[in-house]
Symmetry: D2
């Protein structure tokens, strides 16, 4: 039975409309000398939130509507590691009332547009009310950013 990984060819660098430089850290590498698997998610979290903050403003400590992760996944297609400079890519695959689904990637800085990415991810953010944790509509500024990245 084929897995999801078998069914899908790796996406290419050019498949992601938004790109963001990523600096690696000593502690990103684990005992195998490469980027630890959990670090990919920490990087994407940083990139998504920094990009939205730049496009639309955001204050995670006080905003009434905050994005929580409902689902995430990653296929690891090649090795990356400190002290490499990396690039993260993102695009919006689905945009609902309260949720947005990203396609994500990570690859070595300097990779050409036809190069397969080193990691391909999927990520669902659901906006919720800070206090009640019930879903709320995506704020207008963030929605405009997401529309621009389809």
């Amino acid at each position: 039975m084929p897995t999801d990984a078998d069914r899908h060819a790796p996406p290419l660098v050019r498949d992601f409309p938004v790109t963001w430089p990523v600096q690696t850290r000593w502690t990103d590498n684990d005992m195998f000398g490469h980027l630890n698997n959990a670090v990919y998610y920490a990087i994407w979290d940083s990139v998504i939130n920094a990009w939205v903050a730049r496009e639309a403003g955001a204050d995670p400590m006080t905003d009434a509507a905050i994005p929580l992760v409902a689902e995430s996944s990653c296929r690891y297609l090649g090795e990356l590691g400190y002290p490499q400079d990396l690039v993260a890519g993102l695009g919006v695959d689905r945009l609902g009332t309260a949720s947005v689904t990203f396609r994500l990637c990570l690859y070595a800085a300097g990779s050409g547009p036809s190069v397969p990415v080193a990691a391909a991810g999927r990520w669902v953010h659901v906006y919720v009310d800070r206090a009640t944790r019930r879903p709320v509509a995506i704020p207008d500024g963030a929605r405009m950013a997401y529309e621009s990245a389809r």
Copy 2:
């Protein structure tokens, strides 16, 4: 179109044959006051490897065959956070020549067997040669541990 999350009911605490206590840390919580999404993966990485090391022995710095993560995913179904004590659960869903697929979960310590888990994951480890990074057979000791957790 339903997502994977819609299609699957949350697994229950009793669905995981191996359980492991998990201590949380101050830095596990992010600005939203709960366990950051990437931390779930870091926890599962620690639990899988500590369990295999206990069952079969393992030295990540010298073993000829090392397990790399090929795919991982998580559905976040409830909130967890420091300073809670947690429990991670794991089971083996598929066992191939070079790869093993785990189902994983995380929940608050003290949850009864019929309680839905707070997070449900999937994780594929592929064993590779340390030097060449080519797939190799799962070592016998680890295979026995995996067989026991089906």
Copy 3:
């Protein structure tokens, strides 16, 4: 010219009135196969805050007075690493109006009282107002906990 490290003999396990079990993680080890130096501080942060929360209650997301770190230091005297079980120790060396100075340590679980610790630290917490970040008096509950650990 002697450094601080030369001047002080390593403290012993028995020199710390409060002890706390510490679980290690895969990602705590760096490429040298041992606990990364920054992890010692993350562990002490978790232990101090979990201990105070247990003794006195604390909600880091809403408390009016919050403890910020003004200074920290560590002497690394022996190697520790995942998947070891560890113990952290703490004691209060100075207790002021707004600040408290801890002595800290970390060592392998099961070490006897006369064993030198594997790491010895010092840590100054200053309580500040959440909004203004100006120093404020240590709350009564926390002060009682600190008094008990001199």
Copy 4:
């Protein structure tokens, strides 16, 4: 009795001969909405090692002589936080046969030369043999880099 922090005026941006850009991450901020204290050390670790690797080459997975941290300390003088861009500064204060002592700092990108740094650190690296963990002479390439940063 004055602490070290009282005795020393904060160093200034211009007091550090080597500077390095630092990108922050979502998970660097803790529940107080600012850079967690342990992250400062993780950043310095990354900067020291990336700088030496660029100047002198280094492979942490195979080099016979590896630098271990013997002591570290930090005074936190101002708040920093994601998504700020930061700069780390370093200088060499003492250079022995097997050990090197750094002065370190961290501050917001764009700070002028006379601005006090937001954090000031001290860090002792001791080179040891990978296998025996006994002190060895600092390799020539690294020594030249350290000489250049006095």
